[in-house]
Amino acid sequence: MSSSSEPAPVSATPELERDPRLSQLLGGVIRSSIRVSAMILFAGLVLFLVMPSDFSQRLLLGGILLVAIAPVLNVLQVLADEVARKEWPFVATTLVVVAMLGWALL
């Protein structure tokens, strides 16, 4: 989408052009989990059509759960960013969100 003549795109998040290492790592984990879950879901679907069984159902549920944790990882990534920048008000806000997501799991 960007041509070479365009200026380098910047982040829409204030002062977040550079991701710290932990944030990059989490970003990689999220990308990988999406790819792996897509593969698991596809394999589960094929298996379900060819030979429906408990295993194919579990495979499908596993793929769904892998996608479902992505938002939590996204929030943790933001937390890592803000901790690295020592933006404590935003760290506190992100921790509140993490706490509420954790509450949902209880």
């Binding site: 829409a12 998040t13 999406i34 589960g44 059509l49 159902q57 935003f90």
Partner: protein, 287 residues
């Protein structure tokens, strides 16, 4: 031979249902990526009315695909640059809190399917009106050294080909819309983007593309709570349909993001208003 025919018939019926769910997911994913919506307003009617799934099950499957859309959009570099993550996290506080509250209300059986459909319809109509009233208004200004506040920022705008900046105004309005999004998400199986995108764009001065990308991030976080609860309540039925819709969503969001940089903002707003108006009227007056 008869057994073989029956097996073939069974498989073709299952296959067509799965393909139907996958195609619906594809459309929902494209909408989600283009407009910052989870695609739930498209998927819930398809699953509920098209496939005859109970509303609660359709709502749950829709929320799962919303998380898929959100995750897919959030990790792509093109949209990551547009997401205002600080604004998203700030708005996640009221939206997740509201979804926790709404989940408890649903668990207590205090909201009927009919009421949930009204919530869906009126929210869609309301959002369509906001969009139509702001078709030609832009919230951006050429990049400058002016104070953009703690939440404002700048980005490269494909429409003008320039670096542009914006300031987030009327934050309480955004917080109120995020709270509403949490309620709508849980009751009606929507991402809540249909509330957040128009209000953040129209009232808070956030450009459309930034509002859509930020909303895409937010809706996944908001949908997490009702999905966890629904899973516990055994509402994640037909995982094969959820999987087909999710795969469709992942593909659709990829397509939508490819298109999003090439579509003008006015067309995006108009498309959103037409879709919201039509579906809102359907659920309020004809369901």
């Amino acid at each position: 031979m008869r057994i073989l025919i029956r097996v073939t018939e069974y498989h073709s019926a299952v296959l067509s249902t799965i393909l139907f769910a996958g195609t619906a997911g594809l459309g929902a994913g494209m909408l989600g990526a283009l407009l910052g919506l989870g695609g739930g307003l498209f998927l819930v009617p398809v699953l509920n009315l098209g496939l005859g799934l109970p509303f609660a099950v359709a709502r749950t499957l829709s929320l799962i695909t919303i998380i898929g859309t959100s995750a897919s959009v959030s990790v792509r570099s093109s949209s990551r640059r547009l997401i205002n993550r600080r604004l998203a996290i700030l708005l996640a506080v009221p939206s997740v809190f509201a979804s926790l509250l709404a989940t408890e209300v649903l668990k207590a059986g205090l909201v009927s399917d009919r009421a949930a459909k009204y919530v869906f319809g009126f929210t869609a109509l309301f959002a369509a009106m906001i969009m139509l009233s702001r078709l030609d208004k832009r919230n951006i200004q050429p990049k400058s050294d002016a104070d953009l506040g703690a939440l404002g920022s700048h980005f490269h705008d494909h429409d003008t080909g320039e670096e542009v900046s914006y300031r987030v105004r009327r934050l309480p309005a955004a917080i109120a819309s995020a709270f509403g999004a949490g309620i709508v998400s849980t009751f009606a199986g929507l991402g809540g983007g249909l509330l957040v995108v128009p209000s953040v764009n129209s009232w808070c001065g956030v450009p459309m593309r930034v509002a859509a990308a930020t909303s895409a991030f937010l809706i996944g976080v908001t949908a997490f709570t009702p999905v966890v609860t629904s899973y516990r309540l055994g509402l994640v039925q037909s995982p094969e349909l959820a999987a087909a819709a999710l795969l469709g969503v992942l593909g659709g969001s990829h397509l939508g993001l490819k298109l999003s940089g090439r579509l003008p903002v006015r067309a995006l707003k108009l498309t959103m208003a037409v879709i919201l108006g039509g579906l809102g009227a359907e659920y309020v007056f004809f369901q």
